[in-house]
Structure formats: C-alpha cells, structure tokens
C-alpha cells in the first residue's frame, strides 16, 4: 500500500515504460506512478515525524530496497531508537532490536500493528504492491491544477482479495507523482489519508519529498515522511537482505 512506498520505494518487477502520459488509462497511470516512485532498487534517507496529541518524535531512517519484495529499513536516530531495523523478505517480516541483540520474526497477527509507533503498520511495509495486484482501477476524474493534469483513480478490491480497505482513491499528477491517497474502510468511510505536501526533484525525478499520513478518526495525529536523499536503480549487494546483515550490519 501507499504507506509502504512512502518509506520504501520498492521496485516493480514489471518495469513498464515511464514515458510521458498519453492515453488516460487508469492501469497505466497507476503503473507509471509506481515505477516513478519505486525503481529496480533504491537507497533512501528518510526523516519520519510522528505527531501525537501529547508528544512528537522525529526518527531518521535509512532504507534499501531490491526488486519488489525485499526491503531493509534501519533507524539511525534518535539514540534510543538507533539500530532498530526491519527486514522484509517476500511476505516475511523480521525486526532487530539492538538492546536485545535479537532478531524476531513478526507473527502474522502483529502485522496490522503500528510500525515503530507511527501511523503506518507493518502491513504497509509488507504488502506494498497490493494496490496494483489486488485492486481494479478506474479513472473517475481528470482535473487541471497548477499546470499539471491530475487524474483521480478509484481502486476497488478484486473479489475475495485479502485486503483491509473498502476502496482506495488516488490522485496522480501527469509527471507520475502521487498527490493524494485516501483509504476507505469496509463501510466506505474515509479512514486515513496520505497527502504529498511537497513535490520536488529527487535524483532527477519528480518525487513527493514530503508526505503526511493522517488517520482521519484521530484529528491531532499524523506521521510525516520526508525523503532527504535518494538513489535509484543502484546495485545493492545481495547480502544486504539477509538475517545476518539485519543483526550485524556489514556496511
């Protein structure tokens, strides 16, 4: 889901051409946006701000991705959280905690829990390409905003798809950037919304460098993701996505 590639731009295996927008076909628009957002591989530095009514925390994260399924996320600051890491291989997720010096595999029942206290869940990390594979897409509106064409696409779960949302509505700009994404619950009430607050250039591509996730039932609560630095289509060594590298980083 969107939340995931906010943090971890996972690569899409089917690398469709990231050419200019021509025919407004919903599947193609979404695919191009994904391809822009994720590449074959990526290394990004992200600042995550978690805002709560009573406190706010700012975490620094370094993330590596390879292909569609593999991701490693390592927290670098603050000191209390530095060293904690999450590794995703296929559908399995492990966490490493430096205090315990242990790797723990997450049970399936925990995947819907908050990831590091943020408004993202482990599922957001683990099921990143659900939106393409588990939903059907339909272009419902085309608007002009600030010199860009913005497409609104409604994604409805395929029958029997193992997803939690009733539907997802996405706004995508003609330069293949996600502008807004609203998740509706099974009662078709908007449950949470991610907005691109700032779109800039990152390693030569238009990119939502600042995004905020708002749970809509908690007014004074949000998580903001700012991507400070990113490299795409770089080669990440294979050992990176292993349990031993999760516990004992080689780099």
């Amino acid at each position: 889901m969107r939340a995931a590639y906010a943090i971890v731009p996972l690569t899409c295996a089917i690398a469709a051409s990231a050419g200019a927008a021509s025919a407004p076909n919903a599947d193609a628009i979404l695919q191009r946006a994904f391809d822009n957002y994720r590449a074959k591989s990526s290394v990004t530095t992200v600042a995550m701000t978690i805002h709560r009514p009573t406190w706010e925390r700012r975490l620094s994260v370094r993330a590596w991705t390879q292909g569609m399924d593999d991701a490693l996320v390592r927290f670098t600051a603050p000191a209390a959280d530095a060293g904690n890491a999450t590794l995703k291989l296929g559908t399995d997720t492990w966490v490493y905690n430096p205090k315990l010096n242990q790797v723990i595999k997450l049970p399936a029942s925990m995947l819907s829990q908050s990831w590091m206290g943020s408004d993202f869940s482990y599922n957001d990390l683990a099921k990143s390409d659900d939106l393409i594979t588990e939903y059907t897409h339909r272009l419902i509106a085309t608007d002009q905003t600030g010199g860009h064409t913005v497409w609104t696409i409604e994604a409805d779960p395929k029958p029997g798809a193992p997803v939690v949302w009733g539907k997802v509505v996405l706004k995508i700009r003609d330069d293949n950037v996600f502008v807004e994404e609203t998740f509706y619950d099974q009662d078709m009430k908007p449950a949470r919304q991610m907005t691109a607050d700032k779109i800039g250039l990152l390693a030569g591509r238009a990119y939502p460098v600042m995004m905020t996730m708002h749970p809509l039932d908690e007014p004074n609560q949000w998580t903001r993701i700012e991507t400070d630095d990113g490299r795409f289509d770089v080669s990440v060594p294979g050992y990176f996505f292993t349990l031993s590298n999760l516990q004992n980083p080689r780099s």
């Binding site: 978690i50 029942s109 590091m116």
Partner: protein, 406 residues
C-alpha cells in the same frame, strides 16, 4: 364479620381447601427455590468469571475501553488505588500496566498482552495466581520474572526458568524491549487468557513501556460482586473527581450479561406459565364452589345481605387461600433454600465441563427478598385478579332465582 364468615366457609370443605392450599404452597415454594437457585448460579458464574482476571470492577483511563493504548494512562495510580481501597465495599485495588508486545523464544514469536502487576494485590483480585501449574506466581521481590498462560508457553516452547524476549511499543512511541525469565505457568481454563496474557512485575513494566508513575487500569475487588456493585456510586464520584472512568462487570463482560439476561427472560416465561396454571386451578375450584353454593347465596340475599358483600366474602376466601398457601410455600421453600445455601448442591457433572462455563461443581442458591417474594407475590396477584370472575358472577345473583339454584 365477612372475614370470619369467609374463614368458616373455607373449612366447610377441608379436603378441597387443603388441596388448594397445597398446590399454592408447592408452587410458591418451588418458585422461591428456583429463583434463588438461578440467582445463586448466575452470581457464582459472574464472580468466578470476573475473579479470573477482570476484577469486580475497574477504574480505567478515559477512552481506554475503546482504544486500549498505553497513552491512555492514569497518573499516580498508587494514590488512586489507595483511595479506591478506602471506599466501603472495595477491599483491594491493583494498578496494572497493559502493554501489547511480541513475545519471542528463538524462532517462535507470538503476539501477547503484557500486564504489569503488583503481585500481592493482584493475587487478591485475580485467580490466575492460584492456577499456577508449574513454578510459582510473581513475588514482590521479582524483577525480571514473568508468568504466562500454558497455551502461550506451549506456543513459545518455553518452560519455567526459560527466557522470553519481549518487543513492543512504549508509551512515547519508542521501542519497548525486554528479556524476562519465566517463573510460572498458569492455566486459568479460559483459552483467550491462557493464550495471550503474560504478567510481569509492575515497576519493570512501567520502566519498559515508559509508563513512569502511570498505569492504564486499576482492578477492584471486594468481599462479593454485590458489595462492589453497591460501591459503584461512590467509585463514580471518585472517578469524576480524578478524571478516570469506572467500568462495572456488565461493561467489561457484555456477553455474559447478555447471556444471563436472556436466561432470565426465558425462565420468566416458564415461571409465568406456572403461576397462570396454578391460578386457573384455584379459580376453577372456587368457581365450582360458587356454583354449588348458589342456593346458599340466594338464602343470604333473601336474609338481606347485599350481593357485593357476598362477592367480597367469596373474594376474601380466595385471597386467604392464596396468602396462607404462599406463606407456607415461602416458609418451606425459603427454609430448604437456606439449608441448601449453607451446604451447597453437588452436581454429578464433570467439573471440567462446568468450569468452561465458569460454574463450580458445587452450587449454592442465593435467597434474597426478591427471590423469596417475587414468585409467590405474582401468584397472589394472579389469584386476586382472577378472583374478580366469581365476584362479578355473585353480583348478578337475584334471591329468587338463586334460591331455585339457577
């Protein structure tokens, strides 16, 4: 004078009167016992279930019930617990930290509810301490010990003395990580608890979950559920003053409340039909006797008695019958109930089977003013209302026709 007449009339046919009395007495005695028994069983069921973990009531941080996050915290919980213990009807109050974490042992990991408890007061509220199967319960001197349910222990593949790794989110969003040593394994008999709950020392839970000087809930207990229920208004006032909320047993165990309500509703149907049947039997008997006595009533009318006086006399006979019968029934039924209340009734059913429903194998009826008087009261009322039928019939009598027996 009418009452004396009615009384004398009753004993003109002693056999019929005694039989009527007997049926009223048996039914009202039965009602007293059944109602007391039902109250007693449900009371025990509630207490047994609540004693496992919930406590008879809880003080909670506002909103914790709907959204049980660490952020919903009670500050200075020890002080509030101390105040709650001062409320008459409440004898023990135990603050708890309720965290959520992954427990892991090697490659095995399971989600669990991690509860920080004060061992001494917790043992007086929750029966988990007394269902330890292996090892021991927590003690005040424990620092890194934990107890967990047998199903959770089995899932994790950990035994007494083994180590469990815990990883969750602390109150401030940071990582809550700890390693605990298993001191004991409990078997509460409730799979949801045995599979999910780990208890650890309160202070360490506060430390691990960044809950300094805070707790999420305070579990309360007392000599009985009703004593805590009676203390609820005072607890409400205390809660309002300190900005927390009170949850009573019905709020904590809504499913149990619904089941009990449903059972009461269905048994009420049964009681009502019992009362109706007996009332009709008695009325039938009386109507017969009124018909038999038509000539006698004609004579009384001819002597100058007004129809309403005769009607009242008949109605008084009926009421006397009902009241005396019920009094006997309440006395005998209440006596038997009181006796069984002290000895208990042992059911020859597998105790394990009963335990699934939170029912012990020895059951105690519970006699109360309500259970003693509700059934018989309803019976008297039904007979008194039904007695209007013969009363109205007598009103229609005229001396000449009645004397001819028409």
């Amino acid at each position: 004078m009418l009452a004396a007449l009615a009384w004398r009339n009753l004993w003109r046919r002693p056999q019929r009167t005694l039989l009527s009395l007997l049926s009223v007495a048996i039914v009202s005695g039965l009602l007293v016992f059944i109602l007391s028994f039902q109250d007693g069983v449900y009371g025990q069921m509630k207490e047994t279930t609540l004693r496992i973990f919930d406590g008879y009531a809880q003080l909670q941080a506002p909103g914790f019930a709907d959204d049980p996050t660490l952020d919903r915290a009670i500050v200075q919980p020890e002080q509030l617990a101390h105040e709650a213990e001062g409320v008459p009807g409440v004898t023990v109050a135990a603050p708890r930290v309720n965290g959520f974490a992954i427990l892991a042992n090697g490659p095995r990991s399971y989600a669990a509810i991690v509860v920080g408890v004060d061992p001494a007061s917790e043992a007086r509220i929750s029966s988990i301490a007394s269902t330890i199967q292996e090892g021991r319960y927590l003690t005040a001197s424990d620092t890194n010990s934990a107890i967990l349910g047998d199903l959770l222990a089995k899932n994790l593949g950990v035994g007494v003395g083994g180590k469990v790794t815990m990883l969750g989110s602390a109150r401030d969003g940071s990582v809550a990580a700890d390693v605990l040593q298993v001191a004991g394994i409990y078997h509460s008999g409730v799979p949801e608890l045995d599979r999910t709950i780990l208890e650890m020392p309160f202070a360490r839970a506060q430390d691990t979950f960044q809950m300094q000087d805070a707790a999420n809930t305070i579990a309360l207990s007392g000599p009985s559920l009703s004593s805590v229920d009676h203390a609820l208004p005072v607890l409400e006032a205390l809660a309002r003053r300190t900005g927390v909320s009170v949850r009573d047993w019905q709020d904590m165990e809504p499913a149990m409340r619904d089941v009990i309500d449903l059972k009461y509703a269905t048994s009420m149907l049964f009681y009502a039909s019992l009362v109706l049947v007996v009332a009709f039997i008695i009325l039938n008997t009386l109507l017969m006797s009124v018909l038999e006595r038509t000539r006698e009533f004609g004579m009384l009318l001819a002597l100058g008695m007004r129809p309403s006086q005769i009607g009242t006399m008949v109605w008084t006979e009926l009421l006397a019958l009902a009241l005396i019968g019920c009094a006997i029934g309440v006395a005998i039924g209440g006596g038997v109930t009181l006796w069984l209340q002290s000895t208990g009734i042992l059911f020859p059913i597998d105790p394990k089977l009963l335990a699934q429903f939170g029912v012990p194998s020895r059951l105690y009826p519970s006699l109360s003013l309500f259970s003693a008087l509700a059934g018989p009261g309803a019976l008297v009322l039904a007979i008194a209302i039904g007695g209007l039928v013969p009363f109205l019939r007598v009103l229609r009598l005229t001396p000449a026709l009645a004397m001819r027996g028409a």
